[in-house]
Amino acid sequence: MSDSNGHFGVYGGQFVPETLMVALGELEQAYEQAAADPAFHEELNYYLQQYSGRPTPLYLAKRLTEHLGGAAIYLKREDLNHTGAHKINNTLGQALLARRMGKKRIIAETGAGQHGVATATVAAMFGLACEIYMGEEDVRRQELNVFRMRLLGAEVKPVSSGSKTLKDATNEALRDWVTNVKSTYYIIGSVVGPHPYPTMVRNFQSVIGKETMEQLPNLPDWVIACVGGGSNAMGIFHAFVPHPEVRLVGVEAAGEGLSTNKHAAALTMGTRGVLHGSLSYILHDEDGQILPAHSVSAGLDYPGVGPEHSCLKDSGRAQYTTVTDDEALEAFCSLCHLEGIIPALESAHALAYAMKLAPRRPKDETIVVCLSGRGDKDVQQVADILASNRSRRESH
């Protein structure tokens, strides 16, 4: 739980230009009123069910479990949401809030493009103008999602500054908000940013964990989710936090390896710092300059992490571990072969850790993996990587 200025322990807070402080206060107030209003929940539930297709299934991955020969692996199928990822749980909630606040223009940042697509989708449905900031590097990697957003009527604004990825897209979205704060609602896509975003986004995503709990006869032994900014992880963890017998594991991207500096493991390798409005673990040098992150998965390619994760790490309530690009790719392929499910590369990180864990755990234990998104968006990239790996092997 956070305090009134949105601190989770020492983490969180509101480190933003003064220009935004009143807007954040208004947002907090509007959100608290909405959260206390049964009509808001009723409307949100309507869209979650009838538009996005919730509840999402909790699927026992039988062949994967048998293949690994240990604990049972269940997949929380967030990939079956409309638009193909958990992101829409949050964008539906925030778009309804924007409408309540009378805002006509929506902006968002996106990395992999999943949050951008989910934002463009709800903006189309509610008839709101929509602009999406996306790093040029991600625009290149995620061509299909860029086209999707444009089809949905959003304007995609490529960001060419800095590392040209999610961090820089977030900078530009914040600048836009500073300039257009009166007319514009900024839908942040993860449990990051200044208060009240980390709490609000977590609450909108907490439907994942609540459903999971209802769908299982008993509490699971393990809940595993990938962590970039950390919204699917907070979403599935939240309901289980008060149950210490459930072990919560967040999986960060180790990229090409933790020793290479080409990774995105803010919790594992970072230290305390301020990025995008909150205090959390971040990747930065001794001068406080933000370091570029790296992951095969654009959605995890972020040098910060949500402040509540930092708090859960310090308290020991959740453990955080890492998975490399190669391990994630292997898990990606395994799920395709064994279960006929193409996972997002982000989700493949959570899966890769589950696949390491399951064989070491008894058969009567249960592991829930948050399958946060589907991998259609990643198919071209995976094809390219597999082809280049093949040609590298053949040349040896």
Binding site: G13, V22, D168, D287, G288, Q289
Partner: protein
């Protein structure tokens, strides 16, 4: 009375050029500060480069990235300031404009102590609203460093009052872009606080500076100067001439 407060005790409008330390390198920055101090600057606002300067636009961001690529860091910036004070004979007050993470990473208190020892007179932290500034405020108070708070035209009257109470030398006023009629009302709200007011100015025509100076007590020259330093083949001369032209305009018209 601090050195910064003394600037605003005089009748003339304060002229405050902003430059990014280390763009193109710190030797050039030292030469620029020296020139600006001699050509009519009352205060130098020195930006410490940061990789993700969200409170600035693309001109300052690009300038920061050039400075970082040249190897600039906050320790070297402080060493340069100390050298200007000790060897260069520069007495013009210097305000560091620094993003909170650069300060936090070095340790709030330790950074403030080092900056004070180097001869920095004030700090301006663009991403630190007063709610989060308690530790830094105390550290500044203990070191005799001025901490300059920002007021935005979106700030509520209660917030403006608090900002005016806390700021120790002047208030940096940020209007919303393109909302001119609200500007006068914003300044009027702040006038009741009796704190000196400064505002940023992004153009290169002295007439604009004069118009702005009729509203506030000090004018901060921002993007136009940063861009000029980057574009000009003789940046020190160009920046000096520009600031001198603004000085003359402010002194004759206001």
């Amino acid at each position: 009375m601090s050195r910064l407060q003394k600037v605003f005790a005089s009748d003339r409008k304060a002229l405050i050029p902003f430059i990014v330390a280390g763009d193109p390198n710190l030797d050039a920055t030292a030469a620029l500060i020296t020139e600006l101090a001699h050509r009519g600057a009352d205060i130098i606002e020195l930006g410490v480069p940061f990789s993700d300067p969200v409170a600035n636009g693309p001109i300052v961001q690009e300038s920061c990235l050039r400075a970082l690529a040249a190897g600039t860091d906050s320790n070297k910036v402080l060493a340069m300031v100390a050298n200007l004070r000790n060897e260069g004979g520069i007495t013009t007050p210097i305000v560091l404009f620094i993003y909170y993470n650069c300060l936090y990473r070095r340790g709030c208190r330790s950074f403030v102590e080092k900056a004070t020892a180097a001869g920095v007179n004030g700090l301006m932290v663009p991403d630190l609203p007063f709610e989060e500034a308690v530790e830094l405020h105390q550290a500044c108070q203990d070191s005799g460093m001025d901490l300059i708070y920002t007021a935005a035209s979106t700030s509520t009257p209660q917030r403006l009052r608090r900002i005016a109470e806390l700021t120790t030398a002047f208030i940096y006023c940020v209007p919303l872009a393109g909302v001119n009629d609200e500007l006068t009302a914003f300044i009027e709200r702040l006038r009741t606080t009796n704190k000196p007011l400064t505002m940023g100015f992004d153009r290169s025509e002295p007439e604009q500076a004069i118009r702005l100076a009729s509203l506030v007590d000090g004018v901060i020259v921002e993007n136009a100067l940063v861009q000029m330093i980057h574009d000009s083949p003789e940046p020190v001369q160009a920046a000096g001439d520009f600031v001198h032209s603004l000085r003359k305009a402010l002194d004759t018209k206001v």
